[in-house]
């Protein structure tokens, strides 16, 4: 028992120390406000997003992103000699004659590359509004990154100077203020002094204090607690801690049967993870000022949350271990992906597009639907456990019974929620677009996913499928959910739900789906084969169906 506690403690230790200590003045700087991407955010968030954009990871070279940003600013033009621009594209590496496995480049080495210059000139020839040809899109990203890096080094993207006209008016950048004739001299001086201090690496402490005071004197400044809360959200990594706890819980449950102390340790681990998960949500909602329902990242996190919630409720009711095992597996996968794949699942908090703002029905509809997905995620996990049991130990009848019941309950919850969520979607669509149902691809795929599960629920009462069939088909039916959830936005890319569109990850999802189909096919083949062997021995009458129709 004590061994597990040590493990638990180890998991919750800070994940990575910074390669260099963060000085106190830099730590204060991160709380200053930036107006960027349509909202006000602490510099910490701005640094995190910017460093992630340029280098591909926020903790570039194990350095605090705030430190990285300040370093780039201090370097000025010299930043072009820093290998920080992430560029990974095999075709282009070849075309530009760059080493295939090199990941980071300096701006000056790219600028000196004739092929790169040629591609960039071609891009410059495009008129505004022209579509960037597909073959150049990687170059377009790269050119954008390099231009942005240059802006950072000049202070041009540091839109940190409050506007006297209010929080929603355009804020100027350090660069603009330094080059404006009519800017307040104290402010100009504070910015210049700050930059000089950074370059000289001395007197930063006072420079940051003076700058903060000068900035706050210019115009209305955002609430310090809100900025501090967002910094806390960035640094606390609630979702990362949550998935580690879920992983811990999963390991505990794998090693035990129900009712033991290890089982309860696993349940408490999951409950702790759930609490952190909920706390992370709370923070995100207060920062964004809205429920977390509007992009893939948020929905992935919400679905994981729903699956754990359902599993914990079921665990408390039935003490079955399988619920939590299935949910924890799903949640770990979801949260770890959200944590590790910022390029596909963008974690930044952005303002909503107009159609999604201030709408009660939208929130209810999306939360209900995604809770339905969560229940199906749970059922998918349970389905796998059932199939595995059928494969490995078909004689454990009691355990199988329990698993089947668990699976069926999860499907039931999913069907109610998905049906309700889809119909609530109609309510919202009628409210917002003037029609209840318009055969939009997102609507249609939600319906398809629902129909898949309904087919299972109905086929159960024919003699076409039994308990094994329910499990096998429920794993397959989850592919419909995946399509509705991910595929419509990332694969089809059509329809009115375009605000959630994105790219990336398609091949992984396709591989996953193919593996699932192969696994189900293999299991069915094995189990059927076994049945044939047995029924050759004795002929058994089929039990009566339990139909609510009879």
């Amino acid at each position: 028992m004590s061994r597990w506690f040590v493990w638990l403690c180890l998991l919750l230790l800070p994940l990575s120390g910074w390669a260099e200590e963060v000085p106190g003045w830099a730590d204060r700087f991160r709380f200053l406000a930036v107006q960027q991407g349509g909202r006000l955010k602490p510099f910490d968030t701005f640094a995190l997003e910017t460093v992630r954009y340029i280098t591909g990871k926020a903790e570039f070279e194990k350095r605090d992103p705030v430190v990285t940003m300040l370093q780039w600013y201090a370097l000025g033009d010299q930043v072009a000699n820093l290998p920080v621009v992430e560029f990974r594209n095999k075709d282009w590496h070849q075309k530009l004659g760059l080493p295939v496995d090199q990941r980071y480049f300096t701006a000056s080495e790219l600028n000196a590359n004739p092929e790169f210059v040629k591609a960039r000139e071609e891009l410059h020839k495009l008129k505004p509004g022209d579509k960037v040809p597909n073959r150049l899109s990687a170059m377009n990203d790269l050119v954008g990154k390099m231009a942005y890096l240059e802006m950072i080094s000049k202070g041009a993207s540091w839109t940190m100077v409050p506007s006297p006209e209010g929080l929603t008016s355009q804020w100027p950048s350090f660069y603009e203020v330094e080059n404006a004739e009519n800017a307040p001299p104290e402010l100009k001086q504070a910015i210049t002094a700050f930059h000089t201090a950074l370059v000289k690496k001395s007197g930063e402490d006072k420079a940051v204090n003076d700058l903060a005071a000068a900035l706050q004197a210019v115009g209305p400044y955002p609430d310090g607690t809100a900025l501090a809360r967002e910094v806390h959200y960035n640094q606390f990594h609630a979702f990362r801690k949550a998935w580690m706890l879920y992983l811990f819980s999963l390991v505990c449950l794998l090693l035990t049967t129900r009712g033991t102390s290890l089982y309860w340790l696993g349940v408490s681990g999951a409950a702790g993870g759930w609490a952190l998960h909920a706390y992370g949500f709370y923070l995100r909602c207060t920062i964004g000022g809205r429920p977390p329902v509007t992009n893939m990242y948020e929905s992935v996190i919400w679905v994981a949350f729903g699956a754990i919630t359902f599993a914990l409720i079921f665990e408390l009711l039935y003490r079955q271990r399988s619920y939590l095992m299935a949910a924890a597996t799903g949640a770990v996968v979801c949260l770890a992906m959200a944590d590790q794949l910022p390029a596909v699942l963008d974690p930044s908090i952005r303002p909503l597009m107009p159609v999604l703002r201030s709408n009660f029905w939208l929130t209810i509809h999306v939360l209900t639907i995604t809770l339905g997905y969560a229940a199906f995620l749970l059922s998918m996990g349970l389905g796998h456990m059932v199939l595995w049991k059928h494969l490995s130990g078909p004689d454990q009848k009691e355990e199988l019974n329990a698993l089947h019941t668990a699976l069926y309950k999860a499907i039931q919850v999913g069907v109610v929620l998905l049906a309700a969520g889809t119909l609530l979607g109609g309510v919202w669509a009628n409210y917002s677009w003037g029609r209840f149902w318009g055969w939009d691809p997102k609507e249609v795929w939600a319906l398809i996913a629902l129909l898949g599960y309904l087919a299972i629920l109905h086929a159960r009462f024919t003699n076409w499928i039994g308990a094994f069939g329910i499990a096998a088909w429920s794993v397959l039916a989850f592919q419909g959910v995946l399509m509705a959830w991910y595929g419509v936005n990332f694969v089809l890319g059509a329809g009115l739900h375009s605000y959630g569109f994105g790219t990336g990850g398609g091949q992984y999802v396709a591989v996953y789906s193919a593996l699932e189909i192969a696994f189900v096919g293999f299991t069915a083949w094995r189990v059927k084969g076994r049945q044939r062997d047995i029924s050759a021995g004795r002929n058994q009458p089929r039990p009566e169906n339990d139909s609510p129709l009879s």
Partner: protein
């Protein structure tokens, strides 16, 4: 209830499962079509096709029979019955919407009033001018006509439209062709490292603006005028415009020779004096200098019957335009002298002499001869020009070419165009009609018709006035945070914004889009919808969700590890 075989089959669970599977396949392929083509294709092929309606009918029958066959229902079946009746209500509501629903759009200019809403059905509208127009369906997208297989649409009054081509996204392409009668036209391009613009130029069609530069083609009427045009100095004199029945006819004043009649449409114009710096000295209107400070034209316009008018026209002070004399009947025309003087504007003038030679003149420099197919420098911004074609007598040809539109950009893509011939009308040559075009047609029997190619419209019972349109931006970005319209209906003012529609007369008005282009009026675009089935849809939804919940709560699941489950 008699339970014959057919009824039992229609009520069977197996049919239900089969229908579920079919439904999934149909819907999945429809979303594939939507992704590969566009929403309208998916709607046409699946969602709005009669076959799909039949499928939903079978689905309805299956649910209806399965519910009916179990009548009288027991308490145990409460959840089942409520759910399935709920689905029946939903399907019935969908049918009601299909028959009586309206999903249209309404475009209103700021400050204007409209009661017209537009549906998504293309039509010809035809009729006598200022009478009610008939709407005749004109959808050609799904079975496009061709030269070999034209489609005929009877328009009434003995006129038939024979459509030979349909382009779903069409862009107009104007070029010039040699003809027995016509005006000189050149095809030229102007280019440097960054710019490359191809352009047709013709006399009397107005000048072409390219960035800060102006390009024009001038005709020299005679040797004297040619000399005048070729020598150094500005050949800019503005444009004279004749408005006849609202149609502008124009000519570059540089093309007018003194005291030589110049024919413009049915009229002739004779320039008597050109006064670049007109002032009154000793009761006389004279030019004080050669600089165009107050340009004035003294001219006579006459028609073929000998009626004429003399005018003094001022480009800067059009209020001073005066008719100094007139002869015979009044002429139904309006005269305007336009000369928009842009400081530091570069001008590239091509000068065409009747012998067929072409000259080019950059700003006020001396003219140089133009060689076809050879790049020549302009002297500004490294720009060069090259004339590739010169047609002494050319007529304009309008043609439409199909445009490939990127997925998701259909909303902003150019509209469709059709190519047709009007049988039974005087205008029976092949011609193009772009959606939104309206033309006049004279039938063989002598009556005059208006013909348009557009969308079907409906008139609301009440007009809507767009008082104001507003847009808010997200802080520090160019993305709109919200847009809203203030409208007036029957004397009352309402605010329509995202997620806050106006409900009026059974219709709901949603803010769906807008058009705000600098220098153009602002338009607000609303979706106007009417759904007679909406209450049934809400009722059905509640029944379905409630029913499923009842079923799942009241009917515990017993595992069936039977034949197809694990081996026992």
């Amino acid at each position: 209830m008699k339970r014959n075989k057919l009824f039992k089959f229609l009520a069977s669970l197996k049919l239900a499962v089969i229908l579920f599977v079919f439904f999934v396949v149909i819907l999945a392929s429809a979303t594939y079509y939507e992704s590969a083509y566009d929403t309208q294709t998916a709607q046409h092929l699946v969602y709005k096709s009669p076959l799909f309606a039949v499928f939903l009918g079978i689905f309805f029958t299956n649910i209806f029979c399965s519910t009916a066959i179990r009548y009288p229902w027991s308490k145990k079946q409460l959840g089942f019955v409520v759910t399935h009746l709920g689905i029946l209500v939903l399907l019935a509501a969908a049918a009601l919407t299909m028959v009586g629903g309206v999903d249209a759009s309404m475009i209103i200019q700021e400050g204007q009033t409209s009661k017209r809403i537009m549906l998504n059905d293309p039509v010809f509208f035809v009729g006598r001018p200022s009478q009610k127009l008939n709407e005749i369906p004109a959808e050609f997208r799904w079975t496009p006509p061709s030269q070999e297989r034209p489609q005929r649409v009877a328009l009434g009054e003995g006129v038939t439209a024979e459509v030979v081509e349909y382009l779903h996204h069409a862009r107009e392409n104007v070029f010039y062709q040699e003809a027995a009668q016509g005006v000189p036209a050149i095809e030229m391009r102007i280019f440097n490292d960054r710019v490359n613009q191809q352009q047709w130029l013709t006399a009397g069609k107005g000048d072409v603006q390219l960035g800060p530069a102006k390009i024009q083609l001038l005709r020299a009427g005679d040797e004297a005028q040619l000399k005048q045009l070729l020598k150094p100095g500005s050949s800019q004199r503005g444009e004279l415009q004749l408005l006849v029945a609202g149609q502008p006819l124009q000519v570059n004043v540089s093309e007018l020779s003194l005291d030589k009649p110049f024919s413009l449409g049915e009229y002739t114009v004779t320039l008597r004096r050109y006064l670049p710096h007109a002032v009154v000295q000793k009761g006389e209107l004279v030019s004080e200098s050669d600089r165009p400070v107050n340009p004035c034209l003294d001219l006579r316009v006459a028609d073929a019957k000998g009626n004429s008018q003399d005018w003094l026209l001022f480009s800067r002070l059009p209020d001073l335009n005066t008719r100094t004399a007139s002869k015979g009947e009044a002429l139904p025309l309006k005269l305007l002298y336009n000369w928009e003087q842009v400081p530091d504007q570069h001008v590239l003038s091509f000068i065409y002499e009747p012998s067929g030679r072409l000259w080019a003149k950059v700003d006020a420099k001396a003219a140089m001869p133009v060689e076809l197919g050879k790049a020549q420098a302009t002297g500004w911004m490294n720009l060069q020009f090259e004339v590739s074609k010169l047609i002494p007598r050319a007529v304009e040809v309008r043609e439409f070419v199909s445009v490939e539109v990127e997925k998701g950009q259909e909303q902003n893509a150019p509209p469709p165009a059709i190519r047709l011939r009007l049988l039974g009308a005087k205008e029976n040559q092949l011609r193009w009609l772009e959606r939104g075009d309206v033309i006049q047609v004279h039938t063989d029997s002598g009556s005059e018709l208006v013909l348009g190619y557009a969308y079907r419209t409906l008139d609301l019972d009440f007009p809507v006035r767009l008082k104001d349109f507003q847009m808010e931006m997200d802080p520090g970005s160019n993305s709109p945070a919200a847009f809203k319209s203030s409208v007036e209906v029957e004397g009352q003012t309402y605010l329509i914004q995202m997620n806050e529609p106006l409900v009026k007369g059974g219709y709901k008005f949603f803010q769906s889009s807008y058009s705000q282009v600098p220098g153009q009026p602002t338009y607000s675009i609303f979706t106007v919808a009417k759904d007679p089935g909406i209450i049934m849809k809400y009722v059905g939804s509640i029944m379905v969700v409630l029913g499923i919940a009842i079923m799942f709560i009241t009917r515990p699941y017993k595992v069936n590890l039977g034949r197809r489950g694990a081996a026992e």
